[in-house]
Symmetry: C2
Subunit: 192 residues, 2 copies
C-alpha cells in the first residue's frame, strides 16, 4: 500500500481558521493560509479541497468549538441563572481580550449574503445558541431568577443578538468599560 498523509488535518484547519478569523475570507490569500498551516498547496488540494472548502471547514470548526463550550457549561452543575450570567460575562471578556472578536459575527457580515453553504453553517450555529439560551432562560424562570413576563424564545433571540453590537462597539471605541456597563445593564434588566 501507500504512504499516508503527513500533516495533522485538524491542526491545519485550526490554523486556517485563525487566518480567516483575522483577515476575513477575501482578505486571506492561499499563501497566507498554507504558510500558517505549514503545508503545501498541493497537499491542501489533495485532502481538504479548494479555498471555499477550507473556509467552510474552518467555520464549521468554529461552530463545533462553540457547541462543545456550551455543553461544558450545561454540565457545570451550576444553576441556570448562574450559567447565563457567566455566559454573558465570558462573552464580554472575549470581546475585550480577543483581538478579533467573534468569528461567526464577522463572517456573517462578510459572506452571509453571498455564500449559501457558509450561511447555513452560521445559521445552524445561531440556532444552536438559541436553543441553548432558551432552555437556560426557561430554567432560570423556574428558579425565579428571571421575570417570566416575556416568552423565553423572544428573550433568547434578544440575548443572542445583543453581543453582536458590543463587538462592534469595542472594535470602534476600544472601550472595555463601556462594554461592561452595557452588560451590567443588560443583566439588571433581565434579572428579577
Amino acid at each position: 500500500m501507500a504512504r499516508s498523509v503527513e500533516f495533522d488535518e485538524e491542526q491545519a484547519i485550526q490554523k486556517a481558521m485563525e487566518v480567516f478569523w483575522e483577515k476575513g475570507y477575501n482578505g486571506a490569500s492561499l499563501r497566507d493560509l498554507t504558510e500558517a498551516m505549514q503545508i503545501n498547496s498541493s497537499s491542501l488540494y489533495n485532502t481538504i479541497g479548494d479555498k471555499k472548502e477550507l473556509f467552510l471547514r474552518s467555520v464549521q470548526r468554529y461552530a463545533d468549538d462553540r457547541r462543545k463550550d456550551s455543553k461544558r457549561r450545561l454540565e457545570s452543575g451550576k444553576s441556570a441563572f448562574d450559567i447565563l450570567i457567566e455566559y454573558i460575562n465570558d462573552a464580554v471578556d472575549v470581546i475585550i481580550a480577543k483581538k478579533n472578536g467573534c468569528m461567526a459575527v464577522k463572517m456573517a457580515f462578510e459572506v452571509g449574503n453571498t455564500d449559501k453553504r457558509v450561511a447555513d453553517v452560521l445559521k445552524a450555529d445561531s440556532d444552536f445558541a438559541f436553543s441553548f439560551l432558551r432552555d437556560l432562560i426557561k430554567s432560570a424562570m423556574k428558579e425565579g431568577r428571571i421575570s417570566a413576563d416575556e416568552e423565553p424564545e423572544l428573550l433568547a433571540d434578544y440575548f443572542n443578538s445583543t453581543w453582536t453590537g458590543w463587538y462592534e462597539s469595542y472594535i470602534l471605541h476600544k472601550d472595555g468599560d463601556k462594554i461592561r456597563r452595557m452588560a451590567q445593564f443588560f443583566i439588571k434588566q433581565i434579572s428579577k
Copy 2:
C-alpha cells in the same frame, strides 16, 4: 486653459459606495468599481486616488448621509420620544428591506481592526449617533416618556449597539417578524 473633468464625482462616489456596500472592501475589484462608476481607471486615479482613498470617500459619504438623516429627524418637530420610536422602526425597516443592511456595521467588522483611517470615520459616525441618541433620550426623559433611572449616556450606547445584532439575525434567519418582535420588546423596555 484646459479641459475640465467630465464625470460627476459625487455621483461616481455614490456608485462606488454601492459596490463596496454589496461586496465589501476586499470583495470589490477595481474593475467592479470603475464599471459601476462608468469611468476609466485613469480618471479615477487622476481625481479621487487609489482604491483605499475611494473606499474612504465612500464610507465618508455614507456617514454624511446618516448625519443629514439625523438632522432631518430633529427638525421634524415631533416629540423626542416619537423621534426615537420612529428611528427604531425605520432601522427595522432598513434591516428588512435593504438587501445589504447597514454599511457602517459591515465595514466595521471587515476592516475596523486593520484600516485606521476608515476606523476613524466609523468611530466619528458612531460618536455622532451617540450624541444624537443621548440628547433625544434626555429630552424624552424630560417629557416623562422614558424612565430616568438610567443615565442617558448608557442608554444611548445601548441603543446604538442594539441594531447591530438585529442586522446579523436578519442576515442569517431572514425573519422579519423576529426583528419586529425584538424591536417591540426593546421599545417596551425603555418606555415608561
